[in-house]
């Protein structure tokens, strides 16, 4: 019998634990030429805001050792265009659609969450809390437990239907404190990690390589940090965890699951090999068969320390 791959993330039923990470899979349509979207456990859509957002000027990306920095600046089409033009395409596939949302103040998040709560085709919301809170002097929502609790409570109270996933920023002293804050304030699940803040300089011109000066580091370089954070958080909270950060192959994905993640998301690897998620899924199946594990859920958090 083939191994059982269904997982449940706070009520979101995924037919397998492999998702496409926000911001790295466009609106799904960009990759539909390269792989069968039906095979994915789910797709987390590019960070959506109420109004369209143009993002940062170029250059927006730069390669780094085993990683890349991006400063896209959350460019997106905005809620209206998304619902009218992008969502209908996604709903043609048998895969869970999770919407990553962001705002500059609590009210932004609340409004978009409320609007999306009634959209039947959506399986869940993921809160991107790496954005600076303009009302609080630009401190990122995700680096301060109090700000985070305020945000999560406000959003949670608007939702009647959708599970709320809070996506944690790794740029913190104590990821566990942040995770507990999210749990206490009503998060239904956690995903981690978002990108680490980095910077690269062109020594010839003595200018930053990104127009935004700093950017978010992603890719295999950050995998060990992400696995560590998932493991730490899994010890401390009961919420289901989506693990991500530098997953390039099934072994990378398995590290997250063994550390305590119930699902994983593939980010930067999509850019390099669009079929990475499918390859991971195949590798996962093979591993479960070899290890004689019937259900992927048995593997979650099974690290022997």
């Amino acid at each position: 019998m083939p191994p059982q791959l269904n997982v449940n993330i706070a009520g979101i039923k995924l037919k397998n634990p492999v998702l496409a990470a926000s911001g790295t899979f466009g609106y799904g349509e960009e990759y539909s030429r390269w792989l069968d979207l039906n095979q994915l456990g789910g797709i987390v859509v590019k960070g959506l805001s109420l109004n369209p957002h143009q993002g940062n000027p170029p250059p927006r990306i730069v390669e780094t050792p085993a990683g890349m920095l991006n400063a896209i600046g959350l460019e997106n089409v905005g809620l209206k265009v998304f619902l009218e033009e992008k969502l209908p395409f996604l709903t043609r596939f048998d895969t869970a659609v999770i919407i990553n949302i962001w705002g500059k103040e609590v009210a932004d998040y609340v409004t978009i969450a409320k609007e999306l709560d009634s959209v039947r085709e959506i399986a869940g919301l993921e809160l991107n809390v790496s954005c600076p809170n303009i009302k609080k002097g630009g401190i990122s929502f995700g680096t301060n437990p109090d700000l985070l609790m305020e945000l999560v409570q406000a959003v949670r109270s608007q939702l009647t239907r959708l599970p709320l996933i809070v996506k944690l920023s790794p740029n913190v002293t104590d990821i566990v404190a942040i995770a507990i804050a999210a749990e206490k304030s009503g998060a239904d699940a956690l995903s981690l990690i978002n990108t680490l803040i980095g910077m690269a300089i062109d020594v010839k011109t003595r200018r930053p390589r990104l127009a935004n000066i700093t950017g978010g580091l992603s890719g295999p370089a950050i995998h060990p940090i992400a696995v560590r954070m998932v493991w730490q958080v899994a010890q401390a909270v009961k919420l289901p965890i989506i693990g991500l950060g530098g997953i390039m192959n099934s072994s990378d994905a398995l590290e997250f699951i063994i550390a305590g993640a119930r699902a994983v998301a593939v980010g930067t690897a999509n850019f390099i090999t669009p079929q990475t998620s499918i390859e991971i899924l195949n590798g996962l199946r093979q591993y479960l068969v070899e290890q004689k594990i019937e259900d992927v859920n048995e593997l979650v958090g099974s690290l022997a320390v």
Partner: protein
């Protein structure tokens, strides 16, 4: 798509030509489109590299003309016949071909920028938009070694004018020095590819002489398929000061007058 290397030939110290078997890409390629090539399966370098499709054949071979720019292209130059590279493509929106040519066309190349212009010339001729002698290639570069594919254009019957910054081949000067007098005598549609500075100067000339101009732009790319929003360029927008368009899917070819340089 895993593709086998047929040849990987050094043209001169800085330039190479890679031929691989990539039937699906050859079957669909359009002039001005590109591929994303993974130089090896490790993490160094991590990202694919974009290259224009320079030539392709019914048999399924595609050819890439490339220059050693850094780590990725250096590794690429070390691949031997028989090696396997992973290639994604064809990608992007190539040149828009007018159905008939009312006037002679000018193709303007800055060194390696000549790569996507060869299939454009071929297509113009084979689709009988123009006769070969109605097409002129203006090819510029720093030095003789930067003037590439001249033979191939010659074989098509296209007229070729050359200039180099050091005067080692053709006229001494910039490619815009060749272009300006031609546009002055007879404004012709221009198709250009090369460094951004050159493209900007070409676009400015074309604006001045009110002739249409298509430019093939470069940008740092992560995905090449429109997913990451990493490769944007600022362009004119209808209801705003500007918009960002993705070079990888809304380009790489843009109408020069739409680009905000």
């Amino acid at each position: 798509m895993k593709c086998r290397v047929i040849t990987n030939k050094q043209l001169n110290p800085r330039y190479y030509k890679l031929t691989v078997l990539a039937k699906e890409i050859a079957d669909q390629a359009q002039p001005g489109q590109f591929v994303m090539l993974q130089v090896n399966s490790g993490f160094d370098p991590l990202l694919r590299r974009p290259f224009a499709i320079h030539r392709w054949w019914d048999g399924g071979e595609i050819e890439i003309l490339y220059q050693i720019a850094g780590k990725g292209t250096r590794l690429l130059s070390q691949l031997c016949a028989g090696a396997v590279v992973d290639i994604l493509g064809p990608l992007g929106k190539g040149f828009s071909l007018p159905l008939t040519g009312v006037r002679p066309f000018l193709l303007v190349a800055g060194s390696i920028g000549v790569a996507p212009l060869l299939p454009l010339a071929q297509d113009l001729i084979s689709k009988q938009v123009l006769t070969p002698n109605q097409i002129t290639l203006l090819a510029g570069g720093k030095s003789q070694a930067d003037i590439l594919a001249v033979q191939e254009f010659g074989d098509l019957g296209v007229r070729v004018k050359i200039c180099t910054e050091d005067g080692s081949f053709g006229q001494k000067g910039l490619v815009t020095d060749l272009l300006a007098p031609l546009l002055q005598t007879a404004p012709s549609p221009v198709f250009a590819c090369g460094p951004t500075g050159m493209l900007k100067a070409v676009a400015e000339l074309c604006r001045q002489y009110q002739t249409p101009c298509q430019v093939s732009l470069e940008a740092a790319m992560a995905c090449g398929v429109g997913a990451c929003q990493g490769c944007v360029v600022k362009t004119q927008a209808e209801h705003a000061d500007f918009k960002f368009q993705r070079v990888c899917c809304e380009g790489p070819v843009f109408e020069a007058e739409k680009v905000i340089w």
